[in-house]
């Protein structure tokens, strides 16, 4: 099968102004910090970012926020990033807050080629406001549209050059869902191996969902244990 190894700068250069970008990670584990830094360096603007959380001030997606590259953020929690809260309150970015499992399921639905999901989560809360309500078999429910994106930025522990990926411990989180939901998925990996070097049963994301894969020469400090 074909090799999808691509230099990071070349792969990220395809992300233009106005693109929608899903970014894996929950806290530090699974966040593709090097891909985010490259996106910050290249500077595409007016981005829609879809990410579970806004990281912490000074790291990860916060670099894009500080650079004013983000027009819209779809997320479940930004409470650990005072900078993101300030930008939201100042009206400088539009923030759509989504219940965490519903965010995951909307992305999964996008990746599964579905139109959306129907759920009772959030009934009677501010999250139901303005949404399409359905009544099915006497049960009230909310229609939540599927989420897809132009690009996904992913972090794998191990990959082969076809793009088969596996993730470490809690670094899996949103990565496999986003790999499926994006039109073009970019995966940075800690270890890159040749085809045949991954155990097929241990592949978490099939390479068919991955368009570009790149090995990190080293893991910068930001990936390591944080002392608070």
């Amino acid at each position: 099968m074909r090799s999808k190894t691509t230099p990071m700068a070349e792969a990220v250069a395809a992300i233009g102004d106005g693109a929608s970008v899903m970014i894996g990670g929950f806290g530090v584990p699974g966040t593709p910090f090097c891909l985010i830094e490259e996106l910050a360096r290249q500077g595409a603007k007016e981005l829609t970012i879809i990410k579970n959380d806004a990281n912490e001030a000074g790291m990860g997606v916060d670099l894009l926020l500080q650079n004013r590259q983000v027009a819209r953020l779809i997320t479940s929690h930004i409470g650990l990033n005072a900078n993101a809260i300030r930008l939201m309150n100042a009206g400088e970015i539009e923030v759509e807050l989504v219940s965490q499992g519903i965010l995951a399921e909307r992305i999964r639905a996008g990746g599964a080629g579905l139109v959306g999901i129907v759920t009772d989560i959030g009934l009677g809360t501010p999250l139901a406001k303005g949404k399409t309500m359905l009544s099915l078999a006497g049960r009230e429910a909310i229609f939540e549209p599927a989420l897809t994106a132009d690009f996904a930025l992913l972090h794998a522990e191990r990959a082969d050059d076809f793009g088969n990926l596996s993730y470490a411990a809690t670094a899996r989180n949103f990565n496999p869902l986003m790999a499926m939901a994006a039109s073009c998925s970019l995966a940075e990996t800690e270890t890159l191996v040749g085809q045949g070097q991954m155990i097929p049963e241990a592949v978490h994301t099939p390479g068919v969902f991955v368009d570009h894969v790149m090995e990190l020469a080293e893991l910068p400090e930001v990936y390591h244990v944080v002392r608070r």
Binding site: V28, L103, A104, I121
Partner: protein, 218 residues
């Protein structure tokens, strides 16, 4: 609240975690229950970021950079731990596979309504997983100080803040009491040692139904 009263509250909540349960402990006070659980208790702790089988919190020197709980604490695995993606993690929640979740609260009402994720104009970090936990766990316990820093009751007749979920709470653990949400109303189950029932009622924003006979203490 003295640290003694807080620890007593956490220890009391821990006693309702029984062998065989699958449990999610919310961020903040509920995580403190961990310190009161017998290490050998056969339970499965779930965390939203994709683990079933969360072990003890680890100091930095022993931490694995890829293994945190949903609150960001470094944790250890246990024998039998599994990892999964966020869609699977919330399938566990929404399918009703959590026997119990313990959550914090800004306000909890006598009818079981819970508000714990948003204070309009002041605090809107996003819901995280709180709504799904509150709405779908088979049993929801709230752990909170009985009054806020200004002395106002946190147990109220009706929530004034946006709800996390309606009618979801079964039991409330505070530094002063354990109360159950029942069809008849808010029922006092146990009172903290040394707390007077009249003082408890005046610190509570909703009428308390008294148990039959003497009030058990904890």
């Amino acid at each position: 609240m003295s640290s003694g009263a807080k620890e007593r509250m956490l220890a009391r909540a821990a006693r309702d975690i029984r062998p065989g349960m699958t449990v999610n402990l919310g961020i903040g006070l509920p995580t403190g229950v961990l310190g009161h659980l017998d290490a050998g208790l056969p339970i499965c702790l779930h965390s939203e970021n994709g683990i079933a089988g969360v072990g003890r919190q680890l100091p930095y020197a022993e931490a694995d950079r890829n293994l945190i709980d949903a609150g960001g604490a470094y944790v250890s695995p246990v024998a039998g731990t599994s990892y999964f993606d966020s869609a699977v993690s919330f399938s566990i929640v929404r399918r009703g596979r959590l026997d119990l979740t313990l959550l914090g609260a800004f306000e909890v009402a006598m009818n079981g309504d819970l508000a714990n994720w948003m204070i309009p104009g002041r605090f809107s970090p996003g819901p995280g997983g709180a709504i799904e936990l509150a709405q779908k766990a088979r049993r929801v316990g709230v752990i909170t100080m009985h009054t806020d820093k200004s002395g106002r009751p946190k147990i109220v007749e009706r929530c004034t803040l946006p709800l996390t979920a309606a009618g979801c709470v079964n039991r409330i653990y505070t530094d002063m009491a354990v109360c159950d949400i029942t069809p008849e109303g808010l029922r006092l189950a146990e009172i903290a040692e040394g707390v007077d029932p009249d003082r408890l009622q005046s610190a509570t924003g909703a009428p308390l139904l008294m148990p039959e006979g003497p009030i058990p203490t904890f």
